[in-house]
Amino acid sequence: MKYTGKKFIKKDSLPFFWCAGCGNGIILACLVRAMEENNFTQENTVIVTGIGCWGKADDYLNTHTFHGTHGRALAIATGIKLAKPSLEVIVLVGDGDGATIGGNHLIHAARRNMDITVIMSNNLNYGMTGGQYSGTTPYGSITSTSRYGHGEDEFNISELVKAAGAAYVAKETIANPLRLQKFISRALKKENGFRFVEAMSICPTHYGKENRLGKAAEMIEGLKKNSLKIDLIKDRRIDELTAKIIVGEYIDREVDGYIKRYREIQKKAQNKK
């Protein structure tokens, strides 16, 4: 393999603390390979995490990291990037962290097009705290806090971030890591604006077990089977789509990005007597 990304992994902190078959390791491997592909360095990269299983990813990385509080990684990253725009700032959030407790920071960071990259690991529940339902848990599914089937509808988080104005939004499942890596790489390469990659993952320990989805390998097969490429959806009826995972690039547009906009504001302020 051309890029292993292993230079970003702190070897003596392995193995990962995640459960057997957890998708987080696959996503993290995609991320470090994409970082290597884009010539990122330990010194110029800051990885910001929140709380949750995916929020532990910084424990295995030898770049600059900030392990913050639950839901606030995006706001912390906003401060880091604004204070030192030369840094590459990558935010790792789960569906609980990013789409639920931190949902407000997510849509506002997308709206103001903060020049940061977010990798969301979406495993449809809170893993760390024991498999409770989150903002992306599908209607009807069983979790430790929806014993009779979940009564709420879920966010399509990629659509939400796109609607909020993000420069780049893509979604892929861990069943296709090379394509996931490609989307992460494109996000990292993009110079301006808010970049968001949703990695559909699995939680065999909680969500998988509660909903009888089988072992890790079977769950990944399930993701593959339920994936539908975004360019094919025009031919399909909407109600059929709702059960599918729409993968691909939701949006890739040129925007100024907030750093550029604020530099213009600084210029205006400095020219004003």
Partner: protein, 67 residues
């Protein structure tokens, strides 16, 4: 091409069975007691599916060139 070498780091393997499930050539056998074992290394085509699918970054494939 010589047979690729399939290396599993057993300090990292958690016996999830993903590698053996996704290997197109059934190179691995896997059970919950022993985890993944390289069974038919000679069948490996070095596609590296196992490397990218392993959630523990525990597998490495070394391809050697013909002398």
């Amino acid at each position: 091409m010589k047979t690729p070498k399939v290396l599993i780091d057993y300090k990292l393997c958690k016996r999830c069975g993903i590698c053996s499930h996704f290997c197109p050539k059934q190179v691995f056998v896997c059970d919950e007691l022993n985890g993944a074992q390289v069974d038919k290394e000679e069948d490996c085509i070095a596609c590296e599916k196992c490397v990218i699918m392993c959630p523990e970054m525990a597998i490495e494939i070394i391809t050697q060139k013909e002398e």
